[in-house]
């Protein structure tokens, strides 16, 4: 054929060889290089971590809502982490909060979300046989696995896991004598994070390269589904921000274990002066938040991409403002790197610098609002089909609005002085980053489950799951705004000792009960997920009448995704309800020349071009 193929000979030969091989159990399910299996590995590991992270939140919600509760019956599980009186140990409480944050942000919403859907959808939606490097993809998962093992093991050691908050600010995290959680648990935390970063980089490099190099013929960047755009930009953000956390973590390792003072200076602990001089804990904050803020968008963007796809499909309308969506994601990507110090308004930052970061932060409202309006205008007057995935996507948009608005409050350096480190912040990021991304994850699972496992999830259970979770999330996090405005600080073990705060006990009890119910609802999902995997209704070829390429692959695609040639792409992925068309959707692989009835004027031109090309192609193959 042409030079085109010569360039890719390496992959094609490699992938074609593997088509219908009988694989051993180990190479199929464990050390698999197939992107689909790796995606499922990420998904299952992510769900496992999700369960642990959520159960931890249940434990500390018990403490916050029912401060005197006797948990003696949990002693077989919690052991020494309960006080003599059967209450949660204060240091264990700190460890719970820390691990809940770490697990949810990194292990569930970064690895679980990006790892699952980038891996699963990138090759299938751009029309590639697999990732650019299947081997590196496998390594990426296994580094994540090692990281998981290390992090998990820290829960079982005597001094307990890290307890300095998920941001692990020094000096607290740097000094083992400060709290129990800064001993071995903190070391394991850092080791786990180093492996985690390696995993993210291996994955991210692969995603970016695959999107650039392995798109099928006709799949220009402006014909990519928005999911792919979001995964691509997420990987770019991760590639540029995680190495900075890597550097920060290594410096912290040296401070903890080798006596340096990069982050330490002028410290008295237990009446004793430490020898460390000259370092700066603020330096750590800068390095951490240079990752920490982009991390928010690493968690957010894939969820938004998934939503774009699901909302367009299920309102049977083209996505409103496709290019504006891409533009706003690009804008968010760039801005995510220049706003980190808005987490540090009260760290003694120069107020002028604060106002610069405030300005940059507030600009993010613009691309975010563009996205929200585009979701709403896509839904507007659509033939909305309320699948569980649609509901979760709409729920996501709702959180994006309600959680995003409080972001404007917090982005103001002056208002932040009052609200900093209160439950207002907790409410804000749990809505806009936590719940939003979890909803993206759940929507994605409901939507692509048929492709992943060849079976359908139960829609009724999905609806129940959605309504309980959606209402539950608002009942949990909305009251927290009030608690926060009243000045409740986050991360406190108990407020009942303070007169000023004890007035809100009933509200906290309410939040805790809402949390328990919402967590209970997740078991409906877990049942639905695992039951449907084996007993669900068999999935049809294209259950949602969707346009993207993954639905042209076999119902349960093998290694290599398509039997025979990879489909070519002739149009963008959002030709839903196109005037004049027979059906209300035209998949991307349908040539324009076969749909003259619905082509727009400029598409007629392209259709002519297509026919010329195919006839030329036919001629050359004859000769």
């Amino acid at each position: 054929m042409s030079t085109t193929t010569e360039l890719n000979i390496g992959h094609d030969v490699h992938h074609d060889e593997h088509h219908d091989h009988k694989q051993s159990f180990i190479s199929k399910y464990i050390f698999s290089t197939d992107h689909k299996m790796i995606a499922k590995q990420y998904l299952v590991t992510g769900i496992f971590w999700g369960i642990i992270g959520v159960l931890m939140s249940v434990l500390f919600r018990v403490q916050l809502g029912f401060p005197g509760a006797n948990l003696e019956w949990l002693r077989p599980v919690l052991g020494g982490w309960l006080t003599e009186a059967g209450k949660i140990d204060p240091e264990f409480y700190l460890a719970l909060v820390t691990m809940h944050g770490t697990i949810m942000v990194f292990f569930v919403l970064t690895a679980g979300l990006s790892g699952t859907f980038s891996n699963y959808l990138i090759p299938l939606q751009i029309g590639a046989r697999d990732m650019a490097s299947g081997f590196m993809n496998m390594l990426s998962y296994w580094f994540f696995f090692i990281s998981s093992i290390v992090m998990l093991s820290s829960i079982f050691i005597e001094s307990g896991p890290a307890a300095g908050g998920w941001t692990v600010y020094p000096p607290l995290s740097a000094l083992p004598q400060a709290i129990q959680g800064s001993q071995l648990g903190m070391t394991l935390w850092l080791v786990a994070m180093v492996f985690f970063i390696v995993s993210i980089l291996l994955g991210g490099i692969n995603y970016i390269t695959t999107v650039i190099n392995l798109r099928t013929e006709g799949m220009t960047f402006t014909r990519l589904p928005l999911t792919i755009w979001s995964f691509f930009l997420t990987a770019v953000i991760g590639l540029l921000s995680f190495p900075v956390l890597f550097a920060a973590a290594l410096l912290l390792v040296f401070d903890r274990s080798f006596g340096t003072s990069f982050y330490l200076s002028d410290i008295y602990i237990g009446g004793e002066a430490l020898p460390n001089m000259g370092g700066s804990p603020i330096l750590y904050q800068h390095l951490f938040w240079f990752l920490g803020h982009p991390e928010v968008y690493i968690v957010l963007l894939p969820a938004l991409g998934i939503t774009s796809e699901i909302i367009a499909t299920n309102s049977r309308k083209p996505i409103f403002g496709y290019r504006a969506m891409i533009g706003s994601m690009l804008g968010i990507t760039v801005l995510s790197f220049v706003v980190w110090a808005h987490h540090m308004f009260v760290s003694g930052l120069n107020p002028f610098l604060g106002s610069v970061f405030m300005f940059l932060t507030l600009i993010i409202a613009v691309p975010s609002a563009v996205k929200v309006f585009n979701y709403i205008t896509t839904l507007w007057k659509g033939n909305i089909i309320f699948t569980p995935a649609t509901l979760f996507s709409i729920g996501l948009v709702s959180f994006f609005i309600s959680g995003g608005l409080t972001g404007i409050f917090l982005g103001n350096s002056v208002i932040d002085i009052q609200l900093h480190d209160t439950y207002f912040v907790v409410a804000h990021f749990h809505l806009v980053m936590g719940s939003l991304s979890i909803f993206g994850l759940l929507a994605g699972i409901y939507h692509w489950f048929p492709k992943m496992f060849g079976r359908m999830m139960d829609a009724k259970l999905g609806h129940i799951h959605f309504w309980m979770t959606f209402i539950g999330v608002y009942l949990i996090f909305f009251p927290m705004h009030y608690i926060g405005i009243a000045g409740f600080p986050r991360r406190y073990y108990s407020w009942t000792n303070f007169d000023a705060f004890s007035g809100y006990t009933d509200l906290n009890m309410f939040v805790s009960i809402a949390a328990f119910v919402t967590v209970a609802a997740q078991f409906i999902f877990l049942f639905n997920f695992f039951y449907s995997m084996y007993r669900g209704k068999k999935a049809p070829q294209n259950p949602w009448n969707s346009n993207t390429l993954e639905w042209t692959a076999p119902i349960e695609p093998g290694h290599g995704n398509w039997v025979g040639e990879i489909p070519k792409v002739y149009r963008w992925p959002y030709d839903y309800s196109k005037p004049g068309a027979k059906d209300d959707f035209i998949p991307q692989h349908v040539p324009l020349s076969t749909t003259p009835e619905s082509n727009l004027p400029h598409e007629q031109e392209l259709a002519k071009q297509e026919q010329l090309n195919t006839s030329a192609h036919a001629k050359t193959t004859e000769s």
Binding site: L7, E217, L240, F258, T260
Partner: protein, 247 residues
């Protein structure tokens, strides 16, 4: 395919079905890895800058300079020794030689890549060997420099507490504030580890070239990929050198 002729414009190269920049996935991955690694080094060098400027600088004349933990030292007074020439004041000569060796090894790397393009196995073997030798020589020099830095000068430095300290480690430092030594060890160590990995990678490439792996494969692209990495490590050294030794 006749269509390629009409499609071979810059615009349609991004149209899918081909590598848009005419670059293999492996080479692209190396570029992205280097981009990300550049950010880890940037983070460390910014750390260096911030900590350095939070310490007072030496304000007197160069001739009167004495080591003290009170101010950041002048680099040319710290890095002034040469092996076998005890007591000779040769500011920045040794590190200059080190830098020259590393840059020279980049040149030999370029020649190896070029030989690879011509499918000249012997040329690749020769120039890879020189590159490896250059890398090892740099690491050897660094080992000597570290060792000298750790052992310190004959006189040592008197601290405010009246105690004389010699050399430096991660917690004490005769040349200046302890963080000067910590940063020196951390950042040149981090870079040295990159050089070391580079030497290992280069050795694997060298070995594969010797046993003819790339001739069988039909191209020497691996040489090019490791070359990218090697040049990057060199480039980073230029920044490390500037910050630690020149400014």
């Amino acid at each position: 395919m006749a269509t390629t002729a009409t499609m071979d414009t810059a615009k349609s190269r991004w149209g899918g079905g081909m590598a848009p920049m005419n670059t293999s996935y492996g080479k692209l991955m190396m570029w992205f890895f280097l981009l990300s690694d550049a950010f880890s080094f940037s983070a460390l060098l910014i750390t260096y800058g911030l900590i350095r400027y939070s310490h007072p600088a030496y304000s007197g004349s160069v001739a009167d300079f004495e080591f003290s933990t009170e101010y950041w030292p002048i680099p040319e007074m710290v890095f002034e020794a040469l092996p076998f020439l005890h007591g000779v004041h040769a500011p920045l000569i040794f590190v200059g030689i080190m830098t020259f060796i590393l840059i020279l090894s980049s040149v030999t790397m370029v020649l190896a890549v070029e030989a690879g393009h011509r499918m000249d196995r012997k040329g690749v073997i020769k120039w890879m060997l020189w590159t490896i030798i250059g890398g090892l020589a740099f690491l050897g020099c660094q080992a000597w420099e570290w060792s000298h830095f750790i052992h310190g000068t004959d006189e040592g430095t008197m601290t405010a507490a009246g105690e004389v300290i010699y050399g430096a480690n991660l917690t004490i430092n005769q040349y200046g504030p302890p963080l000067f030594a910590s940063l020196f060890f951390f950042i040149t160590g981090f870079h040295g580890f990159h050089v070391f990995s580079g030497v290992v990678i280069n050795f694997i490439i060298f070995f594969n070239a010797v046993v003819g792996t790339y001739d069988k494969r039909g191209h020497y692209e691996m040489v090019e990929k490791s070359g990218l990495y090697w040049h990057f490590v060199d480039l980073v050294w230029v920044f490390v050198f500037t910050l630690f030794y020149l400014i």
